[in-house]
Symmetry: D2
Subunit: 380 residues, 4 copies
């Protein structure tokens, strides 16, 4: 099997995460081919060359279109600000590249759907960077739920709350500008992870009702203040297509929570619950346990849970943030080399974006909103 | 100071809890007067005499009106099914007794308001049995919030989820009959605790939107099945009068949770969170802690937190379910003997009932409902 | 059945705890007879009368020998400083009273054995106040171990660590005087709880090796400093008579732990572990659980675990410090009225004292010490 | 700066871990040079070539001496069974290679000292694979202790307990053969991690007293049974050179614990505690916190704690098992390229081995054993 040449666009937080993942994925998975770090693109050529050295790419470029033109690049990872995703991904697909793109896919469901349509037209593999879904603990949760071990699902709740913007003295940045990331703030940036998990664990969402708040309406910018154009926190109720009720809360100003991506799925015979701050654990209650001995058990991630065993054969020895990106990247590569499915692809991410748009509509209009209508319109 | 004679109506779960509390309250609080267990009333005279012996009352009666007629009874505790509360409480107040009544106060806000109006007319002390609010950990939470230690409150969330009815084979009982407890099931029985805590910690609620589900629509009754007339679980979003957003979820079929009364209050400078299953702990995040050393701290209940020190002078030595009832009873007695305030009195409980009614209306009508209008109407 | 009249000697921390327990025990257990608080004795008559009023005793006395002479007192609870236990308990037994005495029973194994011999001579019921053994979570641990659910026991470890003396500025008091409490400080005062639990859960101890430290060698006394005559912390290894290895650590200066009585019992097929700071939980690992779903489960105390159901019929609703004393008192009373066994009686407490003495000898001499020899000598 | 060529000996658990670490270390640390995976050696040539492909090495060899002879290899990682460490490490050092070797360094302190002497003679960089010491949470613990934030250290306790051999039906293997790994079983294999942490956090150990047990004395081997020649579990008390008391327990049959490397360090003004199963958290109690608000706080690993920020700039986002190996490898490489210190080097590992030997001697002889004497003798 030939090697897979990668280009990465962006060299910030996620750009580096992709570089780390590409460095090790073939070794972790003992792949017959190797992922090769060919090109990294940033906004200036000199900087890109420096990042290429730092991250071990063969070369750097100040123009992402150069990267797409490279013959030795088969796959592209997009780690740029949201408003650039659509142009880059569509161009990459049209250039015949496979594409993995950071979340949220686009600023709106419509933008995400444009990307998904380009993906369908290209026949190339796509994937959206909802990496938390790849955590072995969450893979185990999925297995428990899908296997019927908690009976019929009757309730879902999730949060994704962090506090990275809780300090009102933090400067205004592009993440607070609607033109760059959309009208949804915490709702788009991090609730989208929780929505994608809801989709993964329980299924598609049919309707929502929500509210959102911009607690710090202005932030320092230069000598003055600039308006924050999207929400600091948001909350919504939802009904899945299956009829199951649920709720999601998101915040970027939730004091004390650093990675508060949590979920609880209740069934008629048991419950699973999870907190990403203890990412290598799943809580599981099995009502079939012997009476008087029942209780939530803490299952430590171990071989047999998702891809944990690829990384370490010792149970409970630990699983980290970057490991999830490695799993994601392995799935993306296998989808290219073995034509196995990759999830969430761009089409799946349209659903997440439609839920976000539906919550925005509910906040505007004040009641329950049908997600299906918004999703259909996005694809139209 | 003279002793305070007590009559208790009902000898089930809460009737016994009141008897236990009355047995020890004067010793725990080293009161100059003693609470005296005079009469217990149940539905048959022989049974009542037996319970009087079991619980150490001076006498038992099969007619609660006898109890109200007794001159040596100054205070009455009502621990009967909900649909009896109003008649008993109003009669007790008219007989000049002070009254502590189990929650929910009435089947509707209107019924609760009738009781509250009788209380106002009587000039007697009343209290509603939302005992969880008396937990030292929650008293500490209130102190932290009210003292500004978490800054301005920006978010509230709570659950009260248990699994006592998760087994669909459990027989139909009066708690599933609308005429006995009202149309609200888990919403009325246990969400009401969470609503009362929201009221205590953050303030009154202005509007709600919600949904509810009866997962097990029928339950065994005799040889057949009977319809369950109220909800097994319910969820709602809310806005407090102060503008703070929040949410509450309640369930009586939430697998694995035995006393899942939890809350989290987020402020601009910190957060408190609590889980009644670890009832003697409060989690507190203080953003003012030194950088690199910040984290949620587990504060163990100790002297100085609410009335903990009355029970034990050793910090972290433990605080139990019945102890909360003792605190509640002490507050009720002090309100009688020293004319200090008791909270939640009947009037405060009307607000909780109005929130429940508003959620019911939202479930019926499908959108946001104004709580104030419902509460005003109840009092009208 | 006639009532049981109680006299309590001492009105401090444990004196009040006994008063609270006596107030409610008959109601909690729905006993056919009632425990009656007859007399409380303290060191001065006026104070005793005040405490009698505070705690609801019929009368107070400044002379504990008066209390023993009272015909309406059948049972005595001793809550005085350790050096007074032997005189009081022996006199009480000789006066025909049943006796429950605070721990540690005596200052040495020999003193404890003198008390135990007086108990045997009297034929009266005795009990030693190792109340933690009565916790429902620990009763469940015992049931799991004794029932073979964790297989054969292969390891035991425990701590009892608190921080009540961590501040070196705290004044010198009688607990640091060897003549009052013995040469063992944390070792005698709190390790004794852990030793008694070891005895209860695994069996008698055969040999020990240990060390101990007085970290704060002097404490303020009046205008100067006084020497601390016993240990602030101690640690020892042990072998049970069954051959099982174990260890215990104790401290009164362990920063942050308020009630750090913990134990873990490992078997060939499972493990139980416990922390008194979360006193209503037991952690249980069952190796028989399905592969891939194994983990420590948190069992919340519930009806069916020890006497929990006497206090509350709701699982996981909470169990507190004073509740343990109630269980203890109920067992003591039943032993009087129904001739059921009470444990730990004075004889059982001699074993705990012998382990303490053996650790002291090991600290003096430097190696392993045989407990049996010390215990035999104490009884001689 | 030139690249650093690596050879890895062994392709099992730790061999793969080293390969994963070498793949990403230069990217994670943005190093000016790159670690290059040149050669992997296993016991047969064909297998080695396969592993080279799996793990991305340039070539494989069936003879580790070939690897040492390679000019393009500057550094060697030894991940073979213990009894091979000394020969391989000494030969590698003599060949001028820098060496990182798996723990335990040798089968005895004497063997470890031979390796350390070879290291000193060579002038090359050495490191021993006690990777847990590189965890950011533990680096934070070290910073808190060394910075005086918990005052003067007064107590240390640790465990390293796992259950990988709890099933008596597991087959006999080389880890149970004294000639291969030494007389110390769990004591050598995993207590050594806890000892190294004690050394890192508190300092060298002066004396010990211990015991150990082989619970499953025989294990299946072919058609019969073979004797287990070392301990399944061990426990010991210790005194540090500073006088601080401590204890360590180790087990490979501790039901339910998968990575039970825990420690607690108590000081006069605070405490830190840690459990590797929640490897990205440190518990910290600061007695200087405001009264009534004190409690153990859960500090999530974040940038600023050890090298966490190299991997991810999001606080609390997670840190995994392999990440520790990356930190270790980075320190090893920096020691080569920048002549910064690497710890624990071979000399430091001799101390750990001497503590293990002292515990063995104590188990043989029954009392306290001086570690210094054993360590001096090993170096002699």
């Amino acid at each position: 099997m030939a090697d897979i040449g990668f280009g990465v666009i962006g060299a910030g937080y996620m750009g580096k995460a992709y570089a780390i993942a590409l460095s090790q994925v073939s070794t972790v998975y003992e792949m017959p081919h190797r992922a090769v770090k060919r090109v990294i693109a940033t906004s200036d050529a000199a900087g890109a060359r420096g990042r290429a050295r730092d991250f071990g790419f063969e070369r750097g470029t100040g123009d992402w279109r150069d990267l797409l033109a490279a013959d030795d690049v088969q796959a592209v990872a997009i780690a740029s600000p949201t408003f650039l995703h659509a142009d880059m991904a569509v161009a990459a697909l049209q250039a015949g590249k496979h594409v993995i793109c950071e979340k949220p896919l686009g600023r709106t469901a419509r933008e995400a759907a444009q990307m998904a349509k380009a993906a369908q037209a290209s026949g190339r593999v796509t994937m959206t960077g909802f990496n938390y879904v790849k955590n072995p603990a969450t893979q185990l949760a999925h297995q428990i739920i899908a296997g019927g071990d908690i009976g019929e699902v009757i309730h879902f709740s999730a949060t994704h709350v962090e506090d990275y913007l809780m300090d009102p003295a933090l400067p205004h940045d592009w993440r607070q500008v609607a033109a760059h990331v959309g009208r949804a703030g915490a709702l788009g940036d991090i609730a989208s992870h929780a929505i994608n998990l809801a989709h993964f664990l329980v299924g598609p969402v049919a309707e929502v009702v929500g509210m959102r708040q911009t607690v710090h309406a202005q932030r320092p910018a230069g000598d003055g203040m600039a308006a924050v154009e999207n929400d600091d926190q948001a909350q919504f109720l939802m009904r899945f297509a299956s009829g199951v009720p649920g709720s999601i809360a998101a915040s970027r100003i939730h004091a004390g929570r650093k990675m508060g991506l949590t979920y609880e799925v209740v069934g008629t015979r048991g419950t699973v619950r999870f907190d990403q701050e203890r990412m290598a654990e799943l809580q599981f209650y099995d009502a079939a346990d012997r009476k008087g001995r029942q209780g939530f058990r803490t299952i430590l991630a171990a071989p047999g849970h998702g891809d944990y065993g690829r990384f370490c054969i010792g149970a409970g020895h630990g699983f980290g943030y970057n490991d999830m990106i490695v799993v994601e990247m392995a799935e993306f590569i296998r989808a290219i080399t073995e034509e196995t499915p990759a999830w969430p692809d761009f089409a799946a991410a349209v659903h997440t974006a439609a839920v976000v748009d539906a919550v925005l509509a509910s906040c505007d209009q004040g009641g329950w909103i049908d997600v299906k209508a918004i999703e259909s319109e996005a694809w139209a």
